[in-house]
């Protein structure tokens, strides 16, 4: 599973081929990985176990490092592989490379993400986490000649390093308590003892480390800077998979390790996670609306969506998890399409601010249609994957007592984000409405890198294919049921431990997943209406927010100052706060 990726990146790294061949080799490697992950997904058994070096568990105690591959993990790995293929195809045309470094790094990045999805060992998780992060640091800062790229990569690297330190401290504490690193083993050992301060502190540390990657408020500050400056193929992988894998990590660690000891406090934890998700969603949406730089706009849209995925996950139920999983894939495809459109616009017109691009992309109208479709899908246009995922999360929220307000928040966030994207599309592709104001905090003009030749025909295919895929994803028959079964297997910590340590397979009780009902359509209609209203209001005149609100938004934007020291301060402060909240509620 991992082997072809490693072989592929070794090939690309040590290749003596000329530049012409690199792109092809890299794409071939990615396609091979995709094929293998799809083969994994298509297996019928619930969990596949691979123990490296043949170190099988002895008498129920795991002694080796293993991969424990279940439905959601394999699905996510296949999704990462698909995004990897798309990114590498785009990279083959968009990136001017000297040497094979970029493609090799991309393959390593994809390999690390696939490994992260499949692993069953906590330290292995950490190692793949680090590998993923380091290759991302280099890829984001690839165009190091640009000042902004350097700064983005720097803040990204510094903030995520602090996150990984927190994660490792948590892992160390768990090892100290249980003497095990296998996720199932740790879970089983912890369940036998009551949860005490050490377990809660370990959970807080691990959660903070993964939240930094997942760009949850207040750990999210590196995200906009990094996405704004990274080359587009890297953005596709970052937006589609990187942050979502942070959430996957938390879900995996929670349901294998901490569900036992902390299960009694599930209500408190549910509240904390849902609130964190809601805050992230709202902050992302508000800052998205305030942006005029297309890539930063998409970055904040991603943060907002990740917040909503966290809400789905934080409901701590199988159907919420299934909804989030379906939504993640759909959203990743849509984001890939949107980033692809932005890249083509940037390639052709050489600018990335709404004001400068006003109406200049008129001859790229078909791309405008793709962009608008993407924006509508985010605002949950019915009959596609995003809508399906969101409907499942809404149903889960309505089922959980006390969370009936959640779908309304989802509506507001997706409406705001969709509306902002519609506004951007209308301004850029159709020249409609008032010209955007000069962004006071925007990036200064830089000479653009990359040639302007019309070599864009291959590039057009990518966004179109992605949008079609996003729509088709929602129409796959039986998707909701398959996701429900996979999610049920995921949250079944006893079954996981039994399968990994004892080799037994316990039956899985899959939840009933009804088709999206009237409420789902109503919420979707509400979100679409809000999106339309936001876009119309923004286009009709240069909107002037009432003064206190405008000042608040400006203050919020100033907090994201671009200084690594500030970001680290927020990360540490957030970790301390989260740790305190956990200590108060989970002990």
């Amino acid at each position: 599973m991992l082997v072809p990726m490693a072989v592929a990146c070794a090939m690309a790294g040590a290749s003596a081929f000329t530049d012409r061949h690199q792109g092809v080799v890299a794409v071939a490697g990615a396609v091979a990985a995709l094929g293998l992950t799809i083969a994994l997904l298509a297996r019928q058994d619930t969990r596949l176990l691979v123990w490296f070096g043949g170190w099988e568990p002895r008498k129920g105690v795991a002694v080796g490092v293993g991969f424990a591959i279940d439905g959601l993990g394999a699905g996510l790995a296949a999704f990462v592989g698909a995004l990897g293929v798309v990114s590498l195809v785009l990279a083959a045309r968009l990136i001017r490379v000297e040497g094979a470094t970029f493609h090799a790094l991309m393959l390593v990045f994809v390999a690390a993400m696939i490994g992260f999805c499949l692993t069953g060992d906590l330290f292995n998780l950490f190692v793949f986490f680090e590998l993923m992060s380091v290759s991302a640091y280099v890829l984001v800062g690839y165009e190091v000649r640009r000042r902004a790229a350097l700064e983005g990569a720097l803040t990204f690297a510094v903030t995520n390093t602090v996150g990984s330190i927190l994660l490792l401290l948590g892992v160390t504490l768990l090892y100290g308590r249980t003497g095990a690193l296998n996720l199932a083993q740790i879970g089983r050992t912890l369940t036998e003892q009551p949860a005490d301060g050490l377990v809660v502190v370990a959970f807080a540390l691990i959660a903070c480390g993964l939240f930094v990657k997942a760009a949850v408020v207040p750990f999210h500050m590196w995200t906009a800077d990094a996405y704004a400056v990274a080359p587009t193929p890297v953005c596709i992988l970052l937006a589609g998979a990187f942050s979502e894998l942070g959430l996957y990590g938390i879900a995996r660690v929670y349901w294998t390790v901490f569900d036992g000891p902390l299960g009694a406090h599930a209500d408190a934890l549910r509240a904390i996670l849902v609130v964190a998700g809601v805050l992230t969603g709202l902050l992302g949406a508000v800052l998205c609306a305030a942006q005029h730089h297309l890539k930063r706009m998409l970055a904040y849209a991603t943060i907002a969506q990740v917040g909503l995925f966290l809400v789905g996950l934080g409901l701590l139920s199988a159907d919420g998890l299934a909804g989030s999983a379906v939504w993640v894939v759909a959203d990743g495809l849509v984001k890939a399409a949107l980033f692809g459109c932005v890249a083509i616009v940037q390639h052709r017109c050489g600018d990335i601010e709404e004001r400068d691009l006003h109406g200049r992309a008129r001859d790229l109208r078909p791309l405008g249609v793709v962009f608008v479709l993407g924006a509508l899908i985010i605002a949950s246009l019915p009959l596609n994957g995003s809508f399906l995922g969101r409907a499942l999360v809404e149903d889960a929220a309505l089922k959980a007592p006390g969370y009936a307000w959640v779908p309304t928040v989802l509506l507001v966030v997706t409406g705001l984000v969709g509306g902002t994207l519609l506004r951007a599309a209308a301004r850029v592709f159709w020249g409609a409405g008032a010209v955007a104001p000069r962004d006071p905090a925007g990036e200064p003009e830089e000479e653009e890198t990359g040639d302007r030749e019309g070599s864009a025909s291959l590039l057009w295919i990518a966004p179109v294919v992605m949008i079609v895929a996003a729509v088709a994803w929602g129409l796959v028959p039986g998707l909701a049921d398959a996701a429900g079964r996979a999610a049920a297997a995921f949250v079944d910590s006893h079954g996981y431990a039994a399968a990994v340590l004892d080799g037994r397979t316990l039956p899985v009780h899959a939840p009933e997943i009804p088709a999206p009902g009237l409420t789902a359509y109503l919420y979707a209609a509400g979100s679409l209406a809000l999106a339309g209203a936001v876009a119309a209001v923004a286009l009709a005149r240069v909107p002037a927010l009432p003064a206190p609100l405008g000042r608040a938004v400006d203050a919020l934007r100033r907090i994201h100052s671009g200084r690594p020291g500030d970001y680290v301060a927020w990360t540490v402060g957030g970790a301390a706060t989260l740790g305190g909240v956990f200590a108060l509620t989970l002990l």
């Binding site: 000649r145 350097l150 700064e151 390093t161 602090v162 990984s164 330190i165 090892y175 690594p564």
Partner: protein
Amino acid sequence: MSVLPYVVAAWLLLVGVYGAITSHHLVHLVICLAVAQSSTYVLLLAIGYRTGGRAPIFSDLPPGTPVVDPVVQALTLTDVVVEATVSAVLFALALQAHRRFGTADPDRIGTLRG
């Protein structure tokens, strides 16, 4: 003896993070992150220590001799390697910043706001 390594680990973490927050030079920032990371090494090794344990090499010891935990030492080595890689990347970025933009002050590089 039993509490001191944990206090040292906590102190290293705090000092490293404080230095990273208030740093005015990129090289200093990277070294502060390295100090913070070394708190994890100390914590790992402290957890693995067994009072009276010998080094975990059984070529000359009879099996059953108490030794310190070798797994933790392996984890620490992995951690050192990871941290070395990250530091290398960060130093490369710092070098590029100084070379191209004439400054190594993290506050003065910035053009990304909001």
